[in-house]
Symmetry: C2
Subunit: 166 residues, 2 copies
DNA sequence: ACTTAACCCAGCAAAATAGTCAACTATTGT
DNA sequence: ACAATAGTTGACTATTTTGCTGGGTTAAGT
């Protein structure tokens, strides 16, 4: 599992898509504008995402992209895997031409870690991230409202004090 | 947090170092040979690791590198952070010049995820990986032994059958 | 002194990244 | 039917990162 800016772009774009495509398809032009990613680069990424059957492209006016499935079924690891080409993880790679000698020892360790990271990212879905953000937004709004109440209370006190003075 | 081959090399090298430096310092030449990483590239990586105070370099004959601290105190996130230069996570980066408009929304989501990944990797130490591998090795050896027992049993059966036939 | 290593550069080729441009095709509203 | 929209494709380019080579210098053991 590799984590590069390419994967980040893909995840960001998918999040944007999930967030905005509750009804109509979303055009890449919109995503490009919102996320400041070049349109042509997005096209490349979405070509891969489409081939991986994660999004559907709809042509013609009013067209754009939609998620192939539910946001709850789309995890981060799959998005990243879709845009990153599968590189030969290591020198001895799948061929296991580096035998059970010492050279493979720590290399094995890394592979295990890599698997762990993949498993971890596989457990995080688009839906979860949107949910989490939604919760945060609500929390923030509530904080702001609480703050406003405090301010109103304070200004009321202030007015009261002024009344006393005048 | 970025996960590239560079980070993998660094983690692999650190694992090798932790595994072999119970007593004496380990030379980069040894690590290079075991992990098939070029010496000069390792030098670059270890220069950064040293500056990040994760390893100590000892000059002269019998010199090499040792871990600065205990394997239990060294986590994966720190190793990767040490060799990857801190890139401006996004366009609006730390300056937060992209205001509370929609453009930042999904970007925020990614940042949250990125933090999650970092936290996750921060929780995994070199010591844990070595431990885990050790457990696996033992398990594998036990499997092999069990397999041998089965094979012996089978060949005994086979011999028995042959005895019946002859 | 001599060897052994860490340390420190400057540079360089290959690959990956990020983006551009242009031509083409399918779909839809009018 | 026709124009507008928007996906599809491919080739091409600039920049950055990667991984490595090879030249040194400096510190510590023998």
């Amino acid at each position: 599992m590799r984590l590069t800016t390419k994967g980040r772009y893909a995840v960001t774009a998918m999040l944007d898509l999930a967030y905005h495509s509750h009804k109509k398809p979303v055009t890449l032009t919109d995503i490009a504008a919102r996320q400041t990613i070049s349109l042509s680069y997005l096209e490349q990424l979405f070509a891969r995402l489409r081939r991986a059957n994660m999004v559907k492209g709809i042509r013609g006016p009013g067209g754009g992209y939609t998620l192939s499935g539910l946001a709850v079924d789309i995890n981060i690891a799959d998005i990243i895997a879709a845009v990153d080409e599968p590189i030969h993880a290591t020198k001895c790679g799948g061929e296991s031409n580096c035998q059970k000698n010492q050279a493979c020892l720590t290399h094995d360790l890394w592979m295990g870690l890599s698997d762990q990271i993949r498993d971890y990212l596989q457990g995080i879905t688009i839906a979860q991230l949107l949910e989490k953000h939604h919760v945060q937004e609500v929390a923030k709004r509530q904080d702001q409202e609480a703050q406003r109440v405090i301010e109103i209370h304070r200004s009321a006190e202030l007015a009261h004090n002024l009344n006393d003075l005048l």
